[in-house]
C-alpha cells in the first residue's frame, strides 16, 4: 500500500460584527444583498478600512497554532476575473502573510503527531453565486448575492504532513475545537463558516486537489475515495494527473474538474489602498493575554481530574459545555461526578431536543445543587435521575423537586449519626444492658433513631451507624 501525503487548506469565516474592510454586518441568513455597501460592490471611489477585531482574531488563531507572527505584514491584490468579485481582485495576503511556521498536535487512535502549519493569512470572502436557479424564461442563469463579499476570512494552510483520512478528520476536529474555544468563528461547515480544500498524493507523486468540501464526513470520504482511485491508477501503470477534482456528495466519489487552459496568473501586487501592518511584540502580548484555555490543555486538566479521555474530549472540545462544566465545578468541586451527569442525563436531553446547553432550563448552579444532594446522600443517585428529569422538564430547582415529591430519603451519614447519638444519650440504661449482652436491644436503638428521622433515614446506613456508635461506647 502506498503512503498518502495530505495537506489541508482551510478557510474560516470570522464572526466579527462587521466585514473585513467595511461596516456592513456579517450575519448568516440575512436577505440577499441586504448587507452590502459601495465597498462590497466596488463602486468607484470606495476604499477599504481594516477591521481591528478581525486582525486580532487572526492573531489569536495564529498564536493558538504556535505560529510565528511576523513583525511586518501587508495585503496584496489577487487579480482574477469572476462575477463573485466585483473589484476584479480579492484583497488577500501573498508573500508577507502575518504568520508562518506553526503546528497542531493531532491525535488519532494510532498516533499523536505534530502537523505543521505553513501559514495563516487574512483575506476577504467573495460573493455567493447560485447557478441555474432561474424561475423566469431564461433557462440557465447565475444569481449573485454580495452579502458574503468582504466577510473576514482566514486561510490556514497545513504542511503535507497528514498521512491518512482519519488523521485529516482529526486535524479538522482539533482545529474547529480551537476556533470555537477562541470564540472567533462558529466553525459551522454547513453554513460555510469552515471550508476545506485537500491536496493528496501517493508516495510523494503527482497530487490532486479536491476543492470546497463542506463537511468533516465528506473530507474523510473524499480522501478515502481518492486514495483508492490513485492506488488503482498506479497499479495499472497509469499516471495521476495534476488537477482540481470535485467531491460528489450523492455518490461519494471525486470527479475531474475542467482542466485549465492556461496557468493561473493572479498578478499579485501590494494593495495600494491599505497601509502595512507593523506588529509589535506588545500588540501580540495583549492578544496572547486574552487567550482562553485551549482544548488540549483543557482535556489534560479534565483527564487529571479523573475523567476518561473520551469524556474529557467531549467536554473540552465544546466550549459551551466546557464553560458549563467549569462553572459547576466552581461550586461543586467533583469533576468526575459532574461529567457523569453532564454526559448522560443532560446530554440525553440536549440530543432529544436538538439544542445547546445554553437553551435548556438548567444552570450550572442548579446542577451543582442536585449533585450536592446526591453527594451528601440526601437522595440516591437513582432518585437523582428522576429529579434531574423533572428539573429539565420544568426548570424547577433540585431542592424544590425533592421537597414537592418528598423524595428525600436521608442518606447523609452525619445527619443520621446525630439521631443515633441522641437516641443513645437518652437511653443510658438500655445501652448498659446491651453492653452486658442483651443483643436484642440493637433493634430498639434502630427503631428509636428511625423515629427521630421521621422515617426518612436510609435503613442500611442507620444500621451501620448504630453499630458503629455502640462499639464506640
Amino acid at each position: 500500500m502506498r503512503s498518502p501525503t495530505i495537506g489541508l487548506e482551510v478557510h474560516v469565516q470570522l464572526n466579527t460584527a462587521s466585514k473585513m474592510f467595511c461596516g456592513c454586518s456579517v450575519e448568516f441568513g440575512a436577505g440577499p444583498n441586504s448587507r452590502v455597501c459601495p465597498v462590497c460592490l466596488a463602486l468607484p471611489g470606495a476604499l477599504p478600512v481594516l477591521n481591528r477585531r478581525a486582525v486580532e482574531s487572526a492573531f489569536a488563531v495564529a498564536l493558538a497554532l504556535h505560529c510565528q507572527i511576523q513583525p511586518f505584514s501587508q495585503f496584496h491584490r489577487k487579480n482574477y476575473f469572476y462575477p463573485d468579485l466585483p473589484k476584479g481582485y480579492q484583497i488577500s495576503q501573498y508573500d508577507v502573510p502575518f504568520s508562518r511556521n506553526g503546528y497542531l498536535m493531532v491525535e488519532t487512535e494510532q498516533s499523536h503527531r505534530r502537523i505543521g502549519i505553513i501559514r495563516v493569512h487574512m483575506e476577504e470572502d467573495t460573493a455567493k453565486m447560485m447557478h441555474g436557479r432561474s424561475i423566469t424564461e431564461h433557462a440557465v442563469t447565475s444569481l449573485v448575492d454580495f452579502n458574503r463579499s468582504g466577510v473576514p476570512l482566514l486561510e490556514i494552510v497545513s504542511a503535507p504532513d497528514i498521512t491518512s483520512a482519519e488523521e485529516a478528520s482529526a486535524y479538522l476536529t482539533e482545529l474547529r475545537a480551537i476556533l470555537r474555544t477562541l470564540g472567533i468563528s462558529s466553525g459551522n461547515m454547513e453554513e460555510g463558516a469552515l471550508r476545506c480544500d485537500v491536496n493528496i498524493s501517493l508516495d510523494a507523486g503527482t497530487r490532486a486537489e479536491i476543492k470546497n468540501i463542506n463537511s468533516f464526513r465528506f473530507v474523510r470520504k473524499a480522501l478515502e475515495y481518492e486514495i483508492e482511485r490513485q492506488n488503482a491508477l498506479l497499479d495499472r501503470g497509469e499516471p495521476v494527473v495534476q488537477e482540481t477534482r470535485h467531491f460528489k456528495e450523492s455518490s461519494g466519489i471525486t470527479v475531474s474538474g475542467r482542466t485549465k487552459e492556461e496557468a493561473e496568473d493572479y498578478r499579485y501586487f501590494p494593495e495600494p489602498d491599505l497601509v502595512p501592518l507593523e506588529i509589535t511584540p506588545e500588540w501580540i502580548d495583549t492578544v496572547r493575554q486574552r487567550l482562553p484555555e485551549l482544548p488540549e490543555e483543557r482535556r489534560r486538566r479534565l483527564h487529571e481530574m479523573g475523567l476518561f479521555p473520551a469524556e474529557a474530549a467531549t467536554i473540552a472540545n465544546a466550549p459551551e459545555l466546557a464553560r458549563f462544566f467549569d462553572r459547576t465545578l466552581s461550586v461543586f468541586p467533583h469533576g468526575k461526578e459532574i461529567a457523569n451527569w453532564l454526559l448522560s442525563e443532560v446530554s440525553k436531553t440536549l440530543n432529544a431536543r436538538n439544542c445547546t446547553i445554553d437553551e435548556i432550563p438548567l444552570r450550572p448552579e442548579g446542577l451543582a445543587e442536585l449533585l450536592q444532594l446526591v453527594h451528601r446522600g440526601t437522595i440516591s443517585s437513582k432518585i437523582g435521575k428522576t429529579v434531574i428529569a423533572e428539573m429539565l422538564a420544568t426548570g424547577k430547582s433540585a431542592g424544590e423537586v425533592v421537597h414537592e415529591k418528598a423524595l428525600g430519603q436521608i442518606l447523609d451519614p452525619e445527619t443520621i449519626r446525630g439521631w443515633v447519638q441522641e437516641t443513645l444519650a437518652q437511653n443510658p440504661k438500655e445501652q448498659e444492658a446491651y453492653r452486658l449482652g442483651k443483643d436484642a436491644l440493637f433493634g430498639f436503638f434502630v427503631g428509636q433513631a428511625m423515629k427521630r428521622s421521621g422515617g426518612k433515614a436510609n435503613p442500611e446506613l442507620l444500621n451501620r451507624i448504630v453499630k458503629e456508635e455502640l462499639e464506640k461506647q
Partner: protein, 97 residues
Amino acid sequence: MKVTTEDALHIAQLARLRFSPEELEVLRRQMESLLSHFSQVSELDTTGIPPTSGVLPLVNVMREDIARPSLTVEDVLRNAPDREGDCFRIPAILEEE
C-alpha cells in the same frame, strides 16, 4: 522593453477582452512604449534603499469592529444589468459538473 503579441493577447484574455488583430497590435505597441518609459526607473541606483510598496508614512490604520447600516437592496441593485428577486442576474457561469 519588448512586448510580444502573445503577451498582449494574454493580458487581454485575463481581462476577458477581445480585440481585432489590428487593435491588438496598437495596444501591444502602446504597452511596449509605456513599459520602456517606466523602465527608466530601474536605471536608478537603489543600493541600500529597502524595498517599499507605499509612500505614506503610515502603518496600522484600522477601524473598530462596529456594524453600520448597509445600502437598501434597491440601491444595491440600481446598477444591476438584470435582477431576479433581490439578486443580481448574470449570464450563466457553469460549475463543472
